[in-house]
Amino acid sequence: MNKKSDFLFDKGSSHFFLPWICALMVFVATLATAGGISTYNSLKLWQQSVAESLTVQIPTYDEDGNPRNELAYKDIENALMLLRTTPGVSGAIVLNDEQMQELMVPWLGADANLAELPLPKLIDVNVDAAHPPLLEQLKADLAEKVPGAVLDSHRIWLGDLVKLANAMLSLVIFILILLFATVAAAIVYITNATLSIQEYELSLVHMLGAQDLYITTHYAWHNLKKALMGSLIGSLIALPIILGIALFLRSISTQIFQSGLQPLQWVSLLLIPMATTILAFITTFYTVWRFLKRFV
């Protein structure tokens, strides 16, 4: 395309608004996507860790509220023996008092005296994820050999986590669609405003024999460049913020946000400015093409 014929853009609003709208939208979309993916990753990690473990509760008090110390220790021994010989169980350990204390901190605080509470003893069971045990069989064996023991497979939790993770992904996709639709609508508006301002020049160029394709491509490339510039600015502002948040969460959290973004997911965030730029090109092309139909 002849550079000298870049006459169409002497005046018009697209110069200023288009890059900034793209920058803003890419910034918001990148943050939303990073937040969504990161939360999804964390939920998936939880799901995985929950799916790979079982908990067996051994009651330490009977139904009348009397301590059953010796009976409880015997139940624990029986349960451990059963678990360690069950196919699919890779390990089973009884949580000690310190671990129980740590587990209860979120609910009871650090100074709670657990000895005064009728808490059951907990056995943490690790499961071979590839060949998990048959839960119904394990439940029946436990009921037979350790009456009163409760097997918690976290299934309710697991179902909720899967739903939450999927809902999070759907939310990210919905937000992205909304943002891209907003960008497209803004480009249509800006392009139409520019075309109306330049209608005199356009009609002249049309009259001089310019093909519709020549004019539409000219505008589309122009807006592509502006959108690319804005999108890159949006990305360049968003990415360091996301990196900062990720590092901050990693420093304050032990587990919840440890997963963060995978390397490929970091790269995928760069698809947002690229998609915005391509969207700007296609939307401008279509808008100009329609506008030109008003000329014979």
Binding site: S5, L204, V205, D212, Y214, V296
Partner: protein, 249 residues
């Protein structure tokens, strides 16, 4: 896509053409005429007679409300937009109100048709400079339209219309804002183009111009068109004019 070969003996044919704007009265009524290749025509008529509208139909700015217009052998209602664009490139138009690009200087305004046609920049520089010198604007090449007089703007508009040596040149009152000497000079530019094969249609209500040059007339009155043949044979008259020009020089 290229324009089909013109098998018609005419450059333009109007059959039963009428034109009205929206729901207003008919500006042009049942117009029938043909433009022959390599001819020179005057389009005459009072102001408001419809000369500009008829020219607009010829350069594909408007479509008739009735009848059929054929350009370069093809009916315009059957043409693709791409073909229409190609046909427009074969037509040069001088507008009454010049219609220059106000943010482009004289040189770039004139160069525009060549740039749209994808000509080489070195060729563009050569041809545009020569033509601007010919119309006496070699010192105003870098000037913008606002910095030029009406007559100078008109000469830029004419230069832009002829720079690509169009097959059909349509000029709407091209000498309206220039003095007699320049008007004559511009007419000789049109004649020179005509001699090279361009069909020229000059719309004017300058009776003196029409009287001096004796070309066939397309006369508009009351929306109707009447063809008035040249007073003497076209060839004789054209050769006389060129002889006068040579004697003058």
């Amino acid at each position: 896509m290229s324009i089909k070969e013109n098998l018609s003996p005419y450059l333009a044919e109007f059959n039963g053409v009428s034109l009205r704007y929206n729901k207003g009265p008919e500006i042009l009524k049942d117009i029938n005429f043909q433009l022959k290749p390599r001819m020179f025509y005057f389009m005459t008529g009072e102001s408001g007679a419809g000369k500009t509208s008829l020219l607009s139909l010829l350069y594909l700015h408007l479509e008739p409300t009735k009848g059929r217009v054929r350009l370069f052998g093809q009916a315009i209602d059957m043409m693709s937009r791409s073909t229409k664009a190609q046909i427009r490139r074969q037509i040069g138009v001088v507008f009454q109100d010049y219609r220059l690009f106000h943010h482009l200087n004289a040189f770039d305004n004139v160069a525009l048709p060549l740039r749209l046609a994808g000509e080489k920049e070195s060729d563009i520089r050569k041809h545009v400079s020569e033509l601007l010198a010919w119309v006496g604007l070699e010192k105003q090449m870098k000037s913008f339209p606002e910095e030029l007089s009406g007559g100078e703007q008109q000469r830029i508009a004419i230069a832009r219309a002829v720079i690509h040596k169009p097959t059909l040149l349509l000029a709407d009152e091209p000498t309206g804002n220039v003095d007699d000497a320049m008007a004559k000079r511009l007419m000789y530019l049109f004649l020179e183009l005509n001699k090279l094969g361009t069909t020229v249609v000059v719309a004017t209500h300058n009776a003196g111009l029409v009287k001096n040059f004796h070309f066939p007339q397309l006369h508009l009155a009351g929306g109707h068109l009447k063809e008035i043949p040249a007073a003497e044979s076209y060839t004789e008259m054209a050769s006389k004019i060129f002889k006068r020009e040579e004697d003058h020089e």
